[in-house]
Structures are given as structure tokens and as C-alpha cells.
């Protein structure tokens, strides 16, 4: 059994190290994505407070009829309590370009939104599973990282035998390595169910990309047939070539609402608009129930006749629930915050594991040892991931306010600032001595986050005092979260600064706690 645990320890250490930085980035941006809509809202300060948008669906279809009457498919994401905008997506079959187009509408007027161009929270959301890479490469890499994360979790639980006792063990004052290990264990155990579920369900969201073999075996490779049969996706029917007006949407919405017992509509999908073969597909809102897109109704787009009413049971419901659990769109604010805090715990667990790897292998100063290249590389990457990525995220928010509103491609400039800042932190981490680099980057992160509410008030956003007094909790929440993040980094930076000033004291402390540890182990042996 001993050697089994040893091999698991090896597996845990190295699987964790290889994908640790990537996982840190995925977890951090994924955690922020639980507030994707709220971030988007903050990043478009021009938007009015959400108002009445009862006829948003009809206005959206009017707009699509105007801008894309010849499209193959229209998709409308309707506004809800978290997002005041209507989002339109258009796909075209060859012919007129662009083949894909998107537009944000002011839900109340049905006119293009005049808010600044930004990817908003969507950037962080997409980055967390496609890493801003073209095609499917990012998704494949993220999938591999997620499987490795599960392996690290399972092997971590195996090597961690005193799971209950360590739950109450945190020795922040003891030797740095010990404290990091305790912290790592505490963060892991505290939210272990969340870590498992979020990682596994993350794989589930893209599982047909990673594991298409089940479909291939059962459907002889006809993936579209599977998607249709499982009512996971509707393919556009071929065009009849005969023009026909689209059925009025109002009565269809009413029928859907009756069948859903009043649950809100989330999405309208129109295939072949204006053709005799048109289909209209309505999907229930993500906030209605745990499952993701679990109820859909398909109507004939011309006659309005009901074709399919899918209320999946069995395996499809399981799949939809697992998918929904990952997205957490059903969560109301308290639960959403719990998701967020658990995600932060996961991020911190990964970060502390990375730091632990370095702390365990740090050359002892008494031996005058110099760090090897590998050790130095890991530490620099740690700094760039753990301190650098938050700086990059903060830069993204700063760019949102500082890049001129009228600039063309300004949304891409914001993303450019994110990557540029990240590259700078990586270069800085590589060039400076590690202890200095940590301290300097955390100081910068502190300033960048703590000053964001000020920047928000100065650049046209609702000032924190106003948003609090007007009860606009989303905007106030964002500013307060940024302040809290800033204070968090300030705390870390001050601890680091204290350590840098008094290195001898720390070493003394390490020696003492080493003796304490030996004493504790002796007691443990006796008690067995």
C-alpha cells in the first residue's frame, strides 16, 4: 500500500505541475465567468438600468428581417434580469458576407445598442475554455488539462489520508512550506465536491468533441443524426426555395409559455426565415431550473404548427443537469456567490499547489545552493500565472475605460491590452529575482484593482456612492469586489514585504516549527 501511495504522490505532483498554470488561468477566468453578465454590464456604462422589455422578441425579429432577410439561421438571446440587451446572431450560406454576424440590441427600442463595443465578460468566459486560440486547439488543450485536474484530485485524495483531522489544521505561523501545505489541503478539502463536480461537468460540456467514439459506434459516424435524435441540436432544413412569410411570433410565445407553466423564454432560433421550410425553435430560459436548455419547442415557421415538444427524460436530463451545473445560470445571487467563492478556493488550491512545488525544492540558503534552471523556470511561471494573470484581468478592465470609445476594433484593443499586460508580467517575472518579482507584481495588482472603482466613477460609470445609494447592486457589487480583491492583494503584498525585511526571523521560526513538528509526529506515533 505504501508504494501505491508513493506512486500516487508522484502522479499528483507532476500531473499538477504540468498543467497547473493553465488550470490556474482556466479556474480564475471561469470563476469570474459566473458573473459574466454582471461584468459585461459594468463594462458598458452607457446602458440604462434594465427596464421593461416585454416586446423584445418581436422587436428582435423585426430587426433581423431588416438586416438579414436572406440568412440561413437567426438566433436571438432575449434579455433577462441579468442582461438588459437582446443579442442577435446571424448565419448565412455563402453568397452575401459576412457568413456570421452578431449585434446587440437595446431591448426596449429594438435599435442597435449605442453602448461601447466590448466583449465584456464574454471574453473571460470564452478564454476559460478556448484560451483565445483559433479553431478547436484551445478546447482540446483545456480538455486535456481538465482530465489531468481530475487525476490530480483523485490522487490527491488518495495521498491525503488524514482528511478529517487536517480539516482543522492550519499552521500559518509555522514554516512556510508547512503553511502552504496546510493551506493547499484546506482549500482542497473545503470545496472538494465543488472541485470534482465543476471539473467533471466542465468535461461534460465539450465531451462530444473529446469523445466522439460513442456516437461513431452507434450512429456509424453520423453525428448530426445523433444530435437530432437526442434533440441536442436542430440542423437547418434545406431551403424549399419558395418564399413564405414567417408566422407571427406572439401566439407561438404564448403557447410555449403555457406549456412551460409560465417559465420564461430564453432563446429564439429561426431556421430558413422567409422560406417555406422555415422552423422556429423556442428554448426555455437558463434561469428556469437546474438543467441546461432542457425544454425546447419547435414550430413550423410558416403555419405555426407545433412539431416537437421535447421534455427530455433519462440520460438526456442527466446530461442537461450536468451541463447546467457547470454553467450555474440557474443560481440566484447567494448561490452564485457560493459558486464564485468555491471557484476562488479552487483557483487558490491550484496556486498554492504550484507554490508548494517550489517551496519544497527551494535550495537551502545554508548550503549556498543556487536555484537550478528548472526551478527558476517554474517559479517565474508561477509568478506570471498567479500574480500576472490578475494584473492582465485588471488591465482588461482598465482598457475598457481608457481605450477611446470611437476607436475602430476597440473591443480587440481591450483584449490586446489583456495579453500585452500578461506578457509584460511574464517578462518581469523572468528578469527580476523571484522574491522581488512577487512583491512588485502583487503591489501593482493591489493598485490596479483598488483604483478601479475610482476609475469607474471618473470615466462615465455610476460612481460607487451613487450605485450604493440607488440600490444598483450589480454595479456596486462589481466595484466592491474589485476593492476587496485589491485589499486581498494588499494583504499578500504586506506579508511578502515583512518577510523580505526580516528574513532571519523567518528562518528562526522555521527551525522552531520543525522541532514542533517532530514533537507532534512523536506523539502521533505513540498514540497509534
Amino acid at each position: 500500500m505504501g508504494s501505491f501511495r508513493q506512486s500516487m504522490a508522484w502522479l499528483h505532483t507532476w500531473s499538477g505541475l504540468v498543467v497547473g498554470w493553465l488550470l490556474f488561468a482556466i479556474f480564475l477566468t471561469g470563476t469570474a465567468s459566473f458573473f459574466r453578465q454582471e461584468i459585461s454590464l459594468w463594462m458598458r456604462p452607457e446602458l440604462p438600468a434594465p427596464g421593461n422589455a416585454s416586446d423584445a422578441a418581436a422587436l428582435a425579429l423585426d430587426r433581423l428581417q431588416l438586416i438579414a432577410p436572406d440568412a440561413r439561421r437567426w438566433l436571438v438571446d432575449l434579455p433577462d434580469e441579468r442582461d438588459p440587451l437582446t443579442h442577435l446572431y446571424v448565419w448565412r450560406d455563402g453568397g452575401r458576407l459576412p457568413a456570421f454576424e452578431r449585434e446587440a440590441l437595446d431591448a426596449a427600442t429594438g435599435q442597435p445598442s449605442t453602448a461601447r463595443a466590448t466583449y465584456g465578460g464574454d471574453f473571460l468566459y470564452y478564454f476559460h475554455f478556448d484560451l483565445h486560440m483559433p479553431s478547436i486547439w484551445g478546447r482540446l488543450i483545456v480538455g486535456a488539462a481538465a482530465v489531468t485536474m481530475l487525476v490530480a484530485l483523485v490522487s490527491g485524495v488518495i495521498i491525503h489520508r488524514r482528511i478529517f483531522r487536517d480539516f482543522f489544521t492550519f499552521r500559518p505561523g509555522s514554516a512556510a512550506r508547512r503553511a502552504w501545505l496546510d493551506g493547499h489541503n484546506l482549500l482542497a478539502v473545503l470545496a472538494l465536491p465543488f472541485h470534482f463536480v465543476i471539473t467533471y461537468t466542465g468535461l461534460v460540456t465539450l465531451m462530444f468533441l473529446y469523445m466522439p467514439w460513442g456516437i461513431d459506434a452507434a450512429y456509424m459516424g453520423d453525428r448530426q443524426a445523433f444530435l437530432t435524435e437526442a434533440s441536442l441540436a436542430t440542423s437547418s432544413p434545406p431551403a424549399a426555395g419558395v418564399p413564405a412569410p414567417l408566422a407571427p411570433i406572439g401566439p407561438l410565445l404564448e403557447r410555449a409559455s403555457r406549456r412551460w407553466d409560465g417559465d420564461a423564454l430564453g432563446r429564439i432560433d429561426v431556421h430558413r426565415p422567409g422560406d417555406a421550410n422555415a422552423l422556429i425553435e423556442l428554448t426555455v430560459s437558463g434561469s428556469a431550473g437546474l438543467a441546461h436548455r432542457h425544454r425546447q419547442i419547435t414550430f413550423d415557421g410558416v403555419t405555426g404548427a407545433l412539431l416537437i415538444d421535447s421534455d427530455p427524460g433519462g440520460a438526456r436530463e442527466v446530461y442537461a443537469v450536468l451541463y447546467g451545473l457547470h454553467l450555474g445560470r440557474f443560481a440566484d445571487p447567494p448561490l452564485r456567490w457560493l459558486y464564485f467563492v468555491s471557484g476562488l478556493a479552487g483557483t487558490a488550491m491550484i496556486g498554492s499547489g504550484l507554490v508548494l512545488w517550489v517551496a519544497k525544492r527551494r535550495p537551502k540558503p545554508v548550503e549556498g545552493g543556487r536555484a537550478s534552471f528548472g526551478h527558476r523556470l517554474v517559479e517565474a511561471l508561477n509568478i506570471a500565472a498567479i500574480a500576472g494573470l490578475p494584473i492582465a484581468v485588471a488591465s482588461f478592465f482598465w482598457a475598457n475605460r481608457l481605450v477611446p470609445v470611437g476607436l475602430s476594433e476597440r473591443a480587440d484593443w481591450e483584449v490586446g491590452c489583456f495579453f500585452a499586460a500578461w506578457a509584460v508580467t511574464a517578462g518581469h517575472a523572468a528578469l527580476r529575482p523571484p522574491a522581488r518579482a512577487w512583491l512588485e507584481q502583487f503591489t501593482i495588482a493591489t493598485l490596479m484593482f483598488a483604483l478601479l472603482p475610482l476609475l469607474n466613477g471618473l470615466t462615465g460609470g455610476t460612481h460607487l456612492v451613487d450605485s450604493l445609494s440607488q440600490g444598483r447592486w450589480v454595479l456596486a457589487g462589481f466595484d466592491l469586489a474589485m476593492l476587496a480583491t485589491g485589499f486581498g492583494f494588499a494583504g499578500v503584498a504586506s506579508v511578502l514585504a515583512r518577510r523580505a525585511r526580516a528574513p532571519s526571523k523567518i528562518r528562526e521560526g522555521a527551525g522552531r516549527s520543525g522541532r514542533e513538528r517532530m514533537g507532534a509526529e512523536a506523539i502521533e506515533r505513540r498514540s497509534r
Partner: protein
């Protein structure tokens, strides 16, 4: 290497096998098989690392994949007749 690719092969084989052999609706079987395959992957990586030697792990994996692959082939043959 054995764990990464062998584990993937085993997971894929289990997923495909369940998709073909489970006596429920075809689309449901695919979903169950694919959902399970992720867990099988993780389990098989642990299994490989738990093995006393690389060769033994490899033999185990190849045998399991062969059995599952045989199962898929047999069911195809049965369906063809």
C-alpha cells in the same frame, strides 16, 4: 505515455461499447457511454500508475481494450445479420 494514450483508448472503448450495447434508446446510450468515458479515463490513469510495472499496465490495458473492441465488433456483426 501509457497512461495518457492507453487511458484514452480504454475510455473511448468503454464509451463506444456502452453506446452500442446498452439496451436503451440509442441516443440515450450514447450519452451514458460518453458521460461514463470521462470517469473511465481518470480511473484508468490511476490504474496504470498503480501497476507494479509499465509492462504489466500495458498488458492490462491492451487486454481490456481488446475485449471491449471485440464486444463492439460482435454487436455490429449481430446487427448486420
Amino acid at each position: 505515455m501509457v497512461a495518457v494514450f492507453g487511458g484514452y483508448a480504454l475510455a473511448a472503448a468503454v464509451g463506444a461499447c456502452l453506446a452500442v450495447l446498452l439496451p436503451i434508446t440509442r441516443s440515450d446510450a450514447v450519452l451514458v457511454g460518453t458521460l461514463a468515458s470521462g470517469l473511465v479515463y481518470v480511473a484508468s490513469v490511476i490504474w496504470v500508475f498503480a501497476a507494479a510495472s509499465v509492462r504489466r499496465a500495458l498488458v492490462r490495458l491492451i487486454l481490456s481494450v481488446a475485449v471491449l473492441g471485440g464486444g463492439i465488433l460482435l454487436s455490429r456483426l449481430a446487427a448486420g445479420q
